[in-house]
Subunit: 300 residues, 2 copies
């Protein structure tokens, strides 16, 4: 099976108390694609500017990511500049320069429209809806969003939620979307909006999956080293969707395993800046850590 992802490609400048990188590969579609490509074929639809380094295209291509919907247009690539504090919690955004991403209007290539697994990364809900209208009967559609869209395009976002199977967001986003601080009530409210499955990413505290089958909790292994949390959420989504698509099954057990795989791959991403760790990650490393994650909540 394969996955279609529509999202952003960015050049990030990231500062932490432990180091700094400038204009490195970032954006939701980058992290998602590299993570998912560890499990399955990935087709990406995104836009970059003339300044986008060829080496990053080479990196994506070397992982088998299909770039038929990767548009290079006149102008500069989307840039984000963030700074993390000592606790590596939520970063301060020092600059967001949408550049060519401002006029992003995703056109799904004809031969991508029948992809069975679709991920709508965090972009304008109206663009997410436009993608949904272009694809043909996917088996599973998941989407992400952010507080900005929850506040500024609530109606458009709710329309999208009626048409997706899975919503993947974080703690604060689910509470904002449901206007409810209590997780369980918030989850019920959001499930009533349309998606049959809700996954809440909680960083070092793991992830929760809510569905009619109940609640599943995936732990997160305490890490030796956390260098840069950027992209952890998109990596999680990529690992999750990549695994599920590779099994071509939405059986509850496979979805649960997918949540653990998502957590596992995300735990590697944060061990280095940008996609550095993802770029060299081996399937054996994933399998080893998958077992370690499972062992965390085992009694023997």
């Amino acid at each position: 099976m394969s996955i279609l992802v529509v999202g952003s490609i960015a050049l990030d400048t990231v500062e932490t108390p432990f180091g700094e990188v400038k204009d490195v590969l970032g954006g939701s579609a980058s992290y998602f694609s590299l993570a998912a490509s560890l499990f399955t074929d990935v087709k990406v639809v995104a836009v970059v500017g003339e300044d986008f380094p060829q080496e990053y295209i080479g990196l994506l291509a070397s992982k088998g990511v299909e770039l038929g919907g990767f548009d290079r247009v006149p102008g500069k690539t989307f840039r984000w500049h963030g700074r993390y504090g000592y606790d590596l919690g939520d970063p301060d955004t020092l600059g967001t320069f949408l550049n060519v991403f401002e006029k992003f209007n995703p056109v799904i290539p004809e031969n991508y429209r029948e992809t069975d697994y679709v991920f709508l990364a965090n972009i304008d809900p109206q663009l997410q809806m436009s993608v949904l209208k272009q694809v043909k009967k996917p088996k599973l559609v998941a989407c992400d969003t952010m507080n900005y869209w929850i506040e500024n395009k609530p109606m458009e976002l709710k329309e999208v939620l009626k048409h997706v199977n899975i919503l993947i967001v974080n703690d604060s986003e689910i509470r904002a979307l449901a206007k409810e601080p209590k997780m369980l009530k918030a989850a019920r409210t959001v499930l009533d909006m349309g998606p049959g499955i809700l996954i809440v990413k909680r960083g070092e505290y793991g992830a929760l999956m809510f569905s009619k089958d109940g609640i599943f909790w995936a732990p997160s292994y305490p890490l030796e080293e956390i260098v840069d949390p950027t992209g952890a959420g998109d990596t999680f989504a990529g690992g999750f969707m990549g695994y599920v698509s590779s099994q071509d099954s939405v059986d509850p057990v496979e979805l649960k395993k997918g949540v653990v795989y998502g957590s596992v791959v995300a735990s590697f991403t944060v061990e280095d800046f940008s996609v550095k760790k993802l770029a060299t990650l081996k399937r054996e490393e994933i399998s080893t850590r998958f077992q370690a994650f499972l062992k965390l909540s085992n009694f023997d």
Copy 2:
């Protein structure tokens, strides 16, 4: 088996956006005792003033808590006044009135000194050390502490840590004690200070146990209702120690089950103000939720 606990008994005034209570039973020894009494016999050493309501003594006694070390002295009972925000996170302390607790000098009754399981709740490390000198070869000693002692009596606290088997603290305390923001490194640093086992309480995110046997993660069930988080940590310790003492075993599997039982009992405490829920909690309710907690991280 039975447990000896030395800690505070308080009258709490608690405000939340959802309600308020005045001068209700609080303090580490209260929550701990009521939680542990669900599993085993508990002996408590604490001090209260002349104003301490007889009904609370009746409540503890009705649960089989032995009050031979429960000292009632001239003056007023320790009082704490806190206010929680909308997210029910860390409360603002509006007032702390130590009253008779200021001169608390725990004297362990002769017939309590051979208790096999000992819990030193969050009190001055010098008092914790004094208790350790009075008890005779306990099988297992656990202790709690807080940022105040970590900052103000670091040497005394480190002396205590050399003599306890288990340290039970929260996320911020472990990081402060180790002077290290990364959990895994912080845990290693603290294990090097003496205790063979470290348990980190993380509220709605569960609990982590570190030891030479590895890391165990107990999930926490997303709750229908959270009314008042006060006492969750001491309840956790009571449930944990109560279960372990009831099994009279420090086998890793029993310790892991203890961590889950601690989380389970704490999840009930926060469903109502003060010890209201603990006071009426049934063993069957605990068993049912224990199973639900385990199911959270199961694949089938």
